[in-house]
Amino acid sequence: MVANSHDSGPRTAYMFFTDQEARTVSAMAERIIPGDSSGAGASDADVIIYIDRALAGYGRHLQKLYRLGTGSIDRLAAATRKGSRFVDLSPAEQDELLSRLSTWLFAKGDEKPDEERTLLVQFFGAVRLHTIEGMFCDPMYGGNRDCVGWMLIGFPGAQWGYTAEQMKLGFDATTIPPKTLSELRQDYRAGKVDTEEVRK
């Protein structure tokens, strides 16, 4: 799978992000779930679109966090390599930086972090959670493009139900083509959903 280049991004306009912010968040998301030969990553799945749409709507209370966070992570990047923003670092350097944030996020302890660190940790936490949501959401939310996130983990999506045969221990669920909620809706409206058939 060829990951989208950070420069070109998905073919859309953003409801909330500036282009530069979107590049930064995309780069973070791609480190959180990297694309490679084993399967899709955040860029393949258009996670940035999920996050953008979320921040413009349901998650708009996080707009300030993202705005401040993208600036803050660039300052941290400059401390790694002078003059660099987060997108300018190598993947290994980006991983090292995110490791530090992750350690702070998941640390259990009484040490009270300073304001900048708190901001960065919350920002990383939000991006991490949003990346996962953007990988596995129904595609109508903007992420999980073409169900690549679901196909990565073998999840069949929005199925009306499962048969006894499919529920047998050891059944290979990748034999069930993934269904989006939009497709299920079309099935339902076309009268193609058979509750009795599924109950067998």
Partner: protein
């Protein structure tokens, strides 16, 4: 608009949905208020959406509209529920109060249906019989219920046969039935429907339990397993707890109860209405009606001969407190909730954890209540252990990664890819003892958007709670090992949340008006014709899901009100 009715019911969930319908069917003119929408089944046909219902808790109250605060002890300042607020606050339904809208929590519940065993109704006596009075943990106020299992049995039966519960009986009038729970208290007859089909990994749980000498049986479910009164049987879609049902198999009062109430012509539902006060006669001795904000936010009043508060233990308590129903100081006391004691692991085969409801599962009651063996941890009241083979959608599944693994990056992605389809878990809700240390009152600082005080919860996990979680984890570890399950993680003995959607106890029922808020029918001692029903009535709390008992109590209350007309 009607200005006076026979009865007002506030909240149309597991309790109110039954009471409102039963009263209406008996000829009582009822107005029922709901904070949320007046749902119909059509609204839920395409519910297969983990973002909407799990990640964003579409049906449950959120902190911005229905704030609630928490603190660990009386010496602390409470804050908005920490696990549900702030940038990383989770909105998922398991750790927030239950759904708003017609049907309430019964729209989205997992449907685990339990009759409390006879000992649960006499926890104080049972503990003293076994351990002496020193067996009652320090600081607790464990009492016997004002009713027995035998008193409630006919209403458990009615819940099962009128609303629809599927399962396999273990003890019919004293005769033990093969394949059911040998430890259940006697029932007059079987369930109206056979158990659900098992989730994929459940058979391994059953085999392992048998080899260990336990007595596994199918989880009884408030989910139709076959067609029931025109409702479809379950289709095992896997979007169950936290989600409404798209085929009406789940026993929500919205489909199982309220339609009959509406058909009588005596029930009027007022959705998007926010009751904010109970009104009383001068001197407060008698209820006169309620004040509420209607759908447009305009202040209204409605008078009634009877008022039933049925909007969850917590919201009931808030309404009682703001209405001054607390003459004896007992309102809000004895907050109790559940820790789930999650044990997660990996199956050797594909377990497909996203298929089937959580109730497509089996349980053991070998250590429940007074059956718990003597143990070094000092646990005096045990719980059942339940298999959880289904309903783990991807975003929830992403939380299952083991603790020592970073929650991001290639190793995490690989872990999800290789292991999501092999996830399996078990849980055991542990008893929570009533204590004056843990209670609800009105927050002095935080208000909701209508200017009314938020409910403040003071609660912390006790040594007994932690010991109980640890004891039952020990059983789960044994079962997991016998199943060949590779361990992943165990929930901490003192979880970070203090809401489990199973809150109870805060308007305790009892016979003594000095030591309780309501009587066995939920009528408040201090204000005639004012009822507060639901889990808030429970004087003690074992390890069972509360809802079937809430439903049985609702039938009992409805019958009492009807007979008194």
């Amino acid at each position: 608009m009607t200005k006076r009715v026979d009865a007002i019911v506030v909240g149309l969930g597991a309790s109110g949905g039954i009471i409102a319908a039963e009263l209406a069917k008996a000829g009582t003119k009822v107005v029922a208020f709901e904070k949320g929408p007046d749902y119909s089944s059509e609204d839920f046909i395409l519910k297969h959406d983990e973002i909407r219902y799990f990640a964003r808790g579409a049906m449950v109250p959120q902190m911005d509209t229905d704030p609630m605060t928490w603190r660990a002890g009386s010496n602390q300042v409470a804050t908005l529920l920490p696990w549900a607020s702030g940038p990383l606050g989770l909105a998922d339904p398991l750790h927030l109060p239950p759904s708003l809208g017609t049907g309430g929590g019964s729209n989205h519940w997992g449907g685990a249906a339990w009759r409390f065993r006879a000992s649960e109704f006499r926890m104080r006596s049972a503990i003293i019989e076994r351990f002496g009075a020193r067996g009652l943990p320090e600081g607790t106020d464990i009492v016997d219920w004002p009713i027995s299992y035998d008193d409630l049995e006919p209403y458990y039966d009615r819940t099962e046969w009128q609303l629809g519960i599927s399962g396999r009986a273990g003890n019919i009038k004293g005769k033990l039935i093969e394949g059911g729970n040998p430890f259940e208290s006697p029932r007059q007859r079987d369930f109206p429907m056979p158990p659900l089909r098992q989730g994929p990994a459940d058979e391994r749980f059953v085999e392992a339990c048998r080899r260990l000498g336990f007595h596994p049986f199918p989880q009884a479910a408030a989910i139709a397993s076959v067609e029931f009164k025109g409702r479809s049987g379950c289709v095992y879609c896997g979007f169950c707890h936290g989600y409404p049902c798209h085929v009406n198999a789940k026993t929500s009062t919205m489909v199982a109860s309220i339609p009959e109430g509406l058909a009588s012509g005596n029930l009027e539902i007022r959705p998007f209405s926010r009751v904010y006060k109970v009104n009383r006669s001068e001197g407060g001795r008698r209820v006169t009606g309620v004040s509420y904000f209607d759908a447009e936010g305009t202040h209204q009043e409605l008078d009634a001969g009877k008022v039933v508060l049925a909007c969850y233990a917590l919201e009931n308590t808030r309404l009682l407190l703001v209405s001054g129903v607390n003459r004896n100081g007992m309102t809000g006391k004895y907050f109790m909730t559940h820790a789930y004691g999650w044990y997660a692991g990996l199956m050797p085969e594909w377990s497909n954890p996203f298929m089937a409801p959580l109730t497509a599962a089996s349980c053991i009651s070998d250590h429940a209540g007074e059956l718990i063996p003597d143990n070094d941890l000092g646990v005096v009241w045990g719980s059942g252990v339940t298999s959880w083979p289904g309903e783990t959608q991807p975003i929830e599944g992403s939380r299952y990664a083991p603790e020592n693994m970073p929650r991001w990056g290639k190793p995490y992605k690989d872990w999800m890819r290789e292991n999501y389809r092999r996830l399996y878990s078990m849980y055991a809700q542990t008893s929570n003892f009533p204590s004056e240390r843990y209670y609800c009152d009105l927050d002095p600082n935080v208000k909701d958007s209508f200017g009314q005080a938020a409910l403040r919860i003071t609660h912390e996990w006790t040594d007994h709670d932690k010991a109980s979680v640890e004891f039952h984890l020990g059983i789960k570890r044994r079962i997991a090992k016998e199943m060949g399950v590779q361990p992943l993680w165990e929930e901490p003995a003192a979880p970070a949340f203090h809401l489990s959607t199973h809150e109870v106890g805060t308007h305790r029922m009892g016979e003594d008006p000095a030591r309780s808020v309501v009587n066995a029918y939920g009528e408040t001692h201090e204000c005639d014709n004012l009822y507060a029903t639901g889990g808030g009535q429970f004087p003690t709390y074992g390890g069972y899901n509360p809802t079937q008992t809430i439903m049985a109590l609702a039938f009992m209350t409805a019958g009492h009100i009807i007979n008194r007309r």
